[in-house]
């Protein structure tokens, strides 16, 4: 019981399947301690995105998920979604306003925050992702790397304790990847990164979960895993990226 109280995320026996389709997640259990940085790796179609969406409650499977001690169910959604921010794979899904400021402020407006405080939070979030001069920019005109950073800011402005990233470096060039690394390494929050980029995972995280065909096949230290090329290869992963 002691350890359960310490863990910020607790997943027990999670299963998920879309209607009329085979199981995408089967019997997944793990727990996360506050402040941990964890990579969720695995080949395409392993269920990484589905797992993240289950943690936010956007998808609901069977089993039990608790976030900060709250059971993940409809009445807790508002509070849980404040505590946990998901950065989507495609920033075009997440940046749906015509101005960067409006996008970053969106979540705060729904928290009924005062205007002055919203402006302050938005500026802070944009600073954290090194985009502080882009307040009035049009999202569509930005590069993919810039859009991804703004997408992170939309989540940061809500000051969540847990950050979930879905393939954060997909499609980014080397420079943009490096910028992303610098930003995330400064975070003190709990971070879960779903990726198949093992280099990135190793640079950020000290714990690794490997998903394959909906099963959790490895849960352990990152250090051990990266020195086990056979394990990585068996699950479609490698360090050469």
């Amino acid at each position: 019981m002691e350890t359960e109280n310490l863990s910020i995320i607790q997943v027990k026996d999670l299963r998920f399947a879309y209607p009329n389709a085979s199981e995408i997640l089967s019997r997944i259990s793990f727990s996360v301690t506050a402040g941990e940085k964890i990579a969720i790796a695995g080949p395409n179609g392993a269920g990484k995105t589905t797992l993240l969406l289950n943690l936010t409650g956007l998808l609901q499977g069977t089993g039990e998920i608790t976030i900060k001690g709250m059971l993940l169910e409809k009445k807790n959604f508002p509070e849980i979604r404040r505590a946990l921010g998901l950065v989507f794979q495609s920033p075009d899904d997440q940046l749906f306003s015509n101005r960067v400021f409006d996008d970053v402020a969106y979540g705060l407006i729904y928290q009924n925050m005062e205007k002055a405080k919203i402006t302050e939070r938005v500026r802070k979030a944009l600073e954290d992702v090194h985009m502080d001069t882009y307040e009035n920019a049009v999202p569509f005109h930005l590069s993919l790397g810039q859009k991804k950073r703004i997408a992170i800011a939309t989540v940061l402005s809500m000051q969540p304790e847990i950050l979930l990233f879905d393939e954060p470096t997909m499609g980014l060039d080397a420079r943009a990847k490096k910028q992303f690394l610098q930003i995330v390494q400064n975070f003190s929050q709990t971070v879960l990164v779903a990726t198949h980029d093992m280099k990135l995972a190793a640079a950020i995280c000290d714990r690794l979960l490997i998903l394959n065909e909906g099963r959790l096949v490895y849960d352990g230290a990152m250090k051990v895993a990266i020195h086990n090329p056979e394990l990585l290869e068996r699950h479609g992963l490698d360090m050469e990226m």
Binding site: T56, R81, N98, Y106, Y110, I118, F140
Partner: protein, 255 residues
């Protein structure tokens, strides 16, 4: 003009449209004055007059199609008849003059609107629609549409150029016209259809992103800055000017 508040510009655009449409049709004096003011504003905001003119005239072309036949068809007297290449052409000068003035009137309003849009970023114009009193739901749909429009147009260009590359041009000949036409319809339909399918999926994910940030079906946005005294003053001037024009027009015409 660039620094003027969008809401003031809205009032200006509506006043121009309202004045032009409400005055008697042959009130030249008011047209000239309005035109001068618009040209002055255009120069004052350092826009290229030629560019503005080009854009307004381009927009006038469709109107020509509706109106050009009128002087020839209308039978109202007097009618002038002249012949070109043995064809007798009847034309009604009075109707011709009326058509020209109609064009001029609509051109003046278009001029004002072009001036407005060339000095204001598009998203600002759209956001300001809420300040005009349009329902928030509608404004939100418009803003979402504007956000994803550019995305879909880029998609559209990609798809259609990919299709052009892939499709082998059909054998030329009259018989194939029908086939080509069907092909054309089919490919247009499938491009559009695939965009719709993509839109459906896109809206799904946008909705998820909104939900995660607290969207609950109600629509909220930050309050607009209240109008400053100078802006109120500017609006008043525009309104009074418009009122003077209308009164003046009837003063001239009424006697």
């Amino acid at each position: 003009m660039f620094s003027v508040d969008t809401r003031v510009k809205w009032v200006g655009a509506f006043v121009v449209a309202f004045v032009v449409l409400s005055i008697p049709i042959f009130t030249w004096a008011v047209y000239i004055l309005l035109f001068s003011i618009l040209v002055a504003l255009c120069i004052g905001s350092q826009l290229s007059f030629r560019q503005v003119l080009k854009r307004t005239l381009l927009l006038e072309i469709p109107l020509l199609f509706i109106l050009i036949p009128l002087p020839f068809i209308n039978r109202s007297l007097p009618i002038t008849t002249f012949s070109i290449l043995g064809l007798a052409i009847h034309i009604s000068p009075a109707e011709l003059l009326r058509v020209v003035v109609l064009m001029l009137r609509s051109w003046l309003i278009i001029f004002a609107m072009v001036l407005f849009t060339m000095t204001t970023p598009a998203d600002e114009i759209l956001i300001s629609l809420a300040a005009l009193g349009l329902p928030v739901v509608l404004v939100n749909i418009i803003l979402l549409m504007w956000r994803y429009l550019a995305l879909f147009i880029t998609d559209l260009q990609k798809i259609s150029s990919a299709r052009k590359l892939r499709s082998i041009s059909p054998i030329k000949g009259k018989r194939d016209n029908g086939k080509k036409f069907i092909q054309n319809v089919k490919s247009t339909g499938s491009i559009l259809g695939s965009l719709f399918v993509r839109a459906y999926e896109q809206s799904d994910r946008v909705y998820q992103a909104m939900l995660l940030r607290g969207f609950d079906g109600t629509l909220r946005s930050l309050k607009n800055e209240p109008l400053h005294t100078t802006q109120k003053f500017q609006m008043m001037i525009v309104l009074i000017l418009g009122f003077c024009f209308i009164m003046g027009a009837y003063g001239i015409y009424g006697n």
